[in-house]
Symmetry: C2
Subunit: 208 residues, 2 copies
DNA sequence: TCGCCTTTTGTAACTTTGTCACTGAACAAT
DNA sequence: ATTGTTCAGTGACAAAGTTACAAAAGGCGA
């Protein structure tokens, strides 16, 4: 079983005592794709560190529209959980696994101890938070300044594998971009007509 | 002349040595309304702590559209400057004073020293960053989920003084909400017709 | 292999929001 | 009072999002 200290560089700089404390307050678990680990009236019972796989943090509006805020990849931590634990705030985001995931869930108490005592731990959380803030600012800008067509194109580029293939539905793209399926369909159709992509059910092949 | 340690609580918990270091690396300055202190091809030459007044951090899109990302109030620090200094990144936001401001600009070197050595300093920056991240996430949500009319109403509520008066132009509201003046004008006209507000040139009076 | 069900995609009509190109009104300074 | 500048109003249009369906694709059991 892989542990935090195997995957996270910061752990290598921690003292033996802190590592032991972290270990004793950590529950390792493997979850299947589509598992909701937080939100949906579930309280935050620990801070998830992702060892393998990736999580998706999203919100659902009052009208039921869903929007991805960001993904948490392998080697990253759910920084919103961390912030809520530190500020004793409520955590009303929903976090869902996008595939089979190995998680290390650190208990709030141990987290609070480490964030105060351990410099490497603190530095790591700091860095994650800064990165997320930059991401968020970029997202705000992107939503306001960039046309949906451009954003779809970027999305396709970023999510395509080496062969230019994506296994996503129009709905998924819409949710990730904070748009709606119909809009995505319209633009994909246009891109297909222009010969930039080819569509199949549940997947998209991009060219050039 | 007011100093950082007079306005910022965290300074009261710092050691004498760190306070002295901070002092020696800080330049105090007063700037007039509308002064641009960062961005516009200006490099970041220090981290501004706001003693009085408030700053506005914004971005300008390629098409020239301007959008406020957030305001930095008295007792706060420009966290984007801090992040850029820590990550040695470029700082391509624009920061402008919204009124007459007293600033304490801490040099990057001293900032980097304090962020490593001083726990109270670190804790303060941490807290500011967390707050800003929450704000940003809320902004993303608000832009995606809430109608412009609702957002205008919230804006009016939040920015009105005790008598329900706001001294803002339609253009300012548009920039702060990431919308356009014409849209704001349309909705304000509607609100005025419904008797919820009364408009004058450069100011709005809200009722109830 | 055929029908059935679910998921995914397509589409038309409509509303909301944003853009463009002006016009006019309010205020300040000379 | 004239002039220039900033602020607000407006109509026509474009882009994006919503509503309400219909149609196709794929999986699955009989």
């Amino acid at each position: 079983m892989i542990k935090i200290s195997d995957k996270f560089e910061f752990a290598k700089k921690m003292t033996k005592a802190h590592l032991a404390a972290m270990d004793s307050g950590t529950i390792y678990k493997t979850i299947q794709k589509g598992t909701i680990i937080s939100g949906d009236s579930r309280r935050c019972n620990g801070i998830p560190f992702v060892l393998n796989g990736s999580l998706r943090l999203f919100r659902i509006s009052e009208s039921g529209r869903e929007m991805t805020l960001y993904n948490i990849k392998s080697g990253e931590v759910c920084i919103m959980a961390a912030i809520c634990v530190m500020g004793h705030l409520d955590y009303d985001f929903t976090v869902e696994s996008q595939n089979k995931c190995d998680l290390a869930v650190v208990s709030p108490d141990v987290f609070r101890k480490l964030i105060i005592e351990s410099d490497p731990f603190k530095a790591y959380i700091f860095q994650m938070m800064a990165g997320r803030l930059l991401d968020s600012i970029n997202k705000i800008e992107s939503v306001n300044f960039i046309s949906i067509e451009q954003r779809i194109k970027s999305y396709l580029q970023q999510h395509a594998d080496d062969d230019g293939l994506l296994n996503v539905t129009h709905e998924q793209i819409a949710v990730d971009l904070g748009s709606s399926r119909e809009v995505i369909s319209r633009h994909l159709k246009k891109l297909a007509a222009e010969g930039e992509i080819q569509q199949k059910r549940g997947s998209i092949q991009i060219f050039k």
